[in-house]
Symmetry: C2
Subunit: 108 residues, 2 copies
């Protein structure tokens, strides 16, 4: 499926507090994600780049030593290996998030 209309895209439970829909290719994973209010990821890291755009904010994100309150249309780029996390507030947040698909032959 080459195209998504975000208004009609059906999201499914991904993990507690997060609904998502993913398109998985050879190299990339594109995910539309809806995160409930009042959720947080205090931080983690991985050996692949990740980036995206906020469709509906606000969401606080930290990447390395930078932290920012992101609103709709703000973009982020998380370099491989950088510790990062996020926090939502009183409203649900939607993101379009893209990461490199980890290789099946490595732990990266």
């Amino acid at each position: 499926m080459a195209f998504w209309n975000l208004d009609t895209l059906h999201l499914e439970q991904f993990r507690p507090g997060i609904l998502s829909k993913a398109e998985i290719g050879k190299d990339l994973i594109m995910v539309c994600m809806k995160i409930e209010p009042g959720r947080a990821d205090s931080g983690h890291e991985h050996e692949f780049d990740q980036c995206g755009i906020v469709l509906e904010g606000p969401i606080e994100m930290h990447v390395g030593s930078e932290a920012r309150l992101l609103e709709s249309n703000d973009c982020y780029f998380i370099p491989a290996g950088e510790r990062h996390g996020w926090k939502t507030f009183d409203s649900a947040v939607r993101l379009l998030d893209i990461s490199r698909k980890p290789s099946e032959t490595s732990n990266n």
Copy 2:
């Protein structure tokens, strides 16, 4: 630079008819692109996935045998190896486009 505000992001000439700003990581290239009205790419292909979201349309895109008129907030996913192209109409188009960074050790 981890974050982009699209309202203030400075784009530079990339090739005739296209302004862009790129963030290049280890694995991914994230590009904000502005394409002039009346431009087209009749089609090409490459051995890496590419995807993105239309920030300002309309743009006609074709991916393999599917063609679609995309408006703002529509997303696309171009699987590695699929022939794809696009056409703009009477207004400039803005995209956020992400592709896998081709490996330095291969032609993919």
